[in-house]
Amino acid sequence: MADRDTGVEKIEIGDGAAIPVPEDRGLLSAWWIALCGTIGLLIVLPLVKPDPYADILRFVPDGILVTFEVTIASISLALVVGLITGLGRISSNRFFNLLASLYVEVVRGIPLLVQLFYIYFALGRFVRVPDIVAAVIAMAFCYGAYMGEVFRAGIKSIDFGQTEASLSLGFNHRQTMMYGILPQAWRTILPPVGNEFIALLKDTSLVSILAVSDILRRGREYASESFNYFETYTMIALIYLLITLVLSRLISTMEHRLSHYERR
């Protein structure tokens, strides 16, 4: 996110699920309806029409596991990359700064799917890694750039006085970042990180193209054998929806918890 100073209120729409908050009542009731509807369909469809719906439900669970594995591994790596990138983007060292900016600019300019293919095949040339690892590296490489911007904005949102106070106590720059700034920045960073987490979870569906057996891959396999495309994708969509709905709620709860020290 570039800091634009145009004097207009800025709108930025993350690409995670909408995280419901008490203030937005329309969205909150929509959240509840969506959740109940999703769970309802996931229960009713297999009962009413076990073939194929119950079959599909039996077929995909290990895909859910893979999706979570890829998501968690990718986001962890992306957080590390993002932290380094974010620090680079605010660094006064011109070289690191430019390097980080360039990374961000290039990664944001190329579709994730192209990056996935590229890293998958390019990596394959030089090192021999399992495809799931290649997929994780590719996801983290891409999301690292977005995380970098999140960290940068988060760190910049912390009053510079905190840095000065920390330095004047005798902490060096690294310690200041670690004990003084990042623990506070975390709070500003958590909502967008949660957002990116959900976005990443959704984007892991792309690794199915690399034949990683995630939810979508399992669905495609089932569909290509049974030809129940419509039914299969219905269930796949419902499963994703359930996961993101629950996660988005968890994140909004966590966010609330994390800000305990700002309450009077």
């Binding site: 079959d55 095949f121 394959g124 040339r125 021999r128 690399l210 034949a211 290509s224 054998e225 030809f227």
Partner: protein, 217 residues
Amino acid sequence: ATDATWPPMEFVNARKQIVGYSIDYMKAAGREAGFRPVFKNTAWDGIFAGLASGKYDAICSSVSITEKRKKAMDFSEPYYTVRQALIVGRTSHARSLADLKGKKVGGQIGTTGYFAIKAAEGVIPKSYDEIGLAMEDLNVGRIDAVVCDDPVAANYALLKYKDTLKIASVIKTGQVEQYGIAVRKGNTGVLDLVNRGIRAVKAKGIDQELKKKWIGQ
């Protein structure tokens, strides 16, 4: 490696096992020659790149032996002879690719079937990640025909979509097209092993049993 989206040659069954004619063939060859193949599901799109980079030792995925491919990798002795079949809707009158000028014809990306479509004059080629997607599109009428290997074509047109699709013809490409196991160029160790297995399978007639089991011939 295998792209298990190609029934009945290789696909994922309801118990998530990779099964099919090619798979059983390799298992039998392994038994005969003393190796145990481990199958790895891989997207067709990158299957050759993966072989070149050493992600796996061989491709057993209904790979037709072509001159162009021979330049990039080595092949075992052929283990199956295929023809390219043209599948069309039940009510279509098309008999050959020549009848489909200006029409859309689909195939799987990077397959000999797709190359045949591209070679045909006047036909609009469409490439799919999986043959099943092409079949579904044909089924709903987004495209007018699909070209693929005949056992696969038979599987779709005669079993899964028997009410809507039919095999119009077998395309004459001029040369005999055969499946082989692809290995990395110069990897003679694996190649010899595989060849030994294939020879033994043929000698014992196991291939005929497998054909009955999977293809029904």
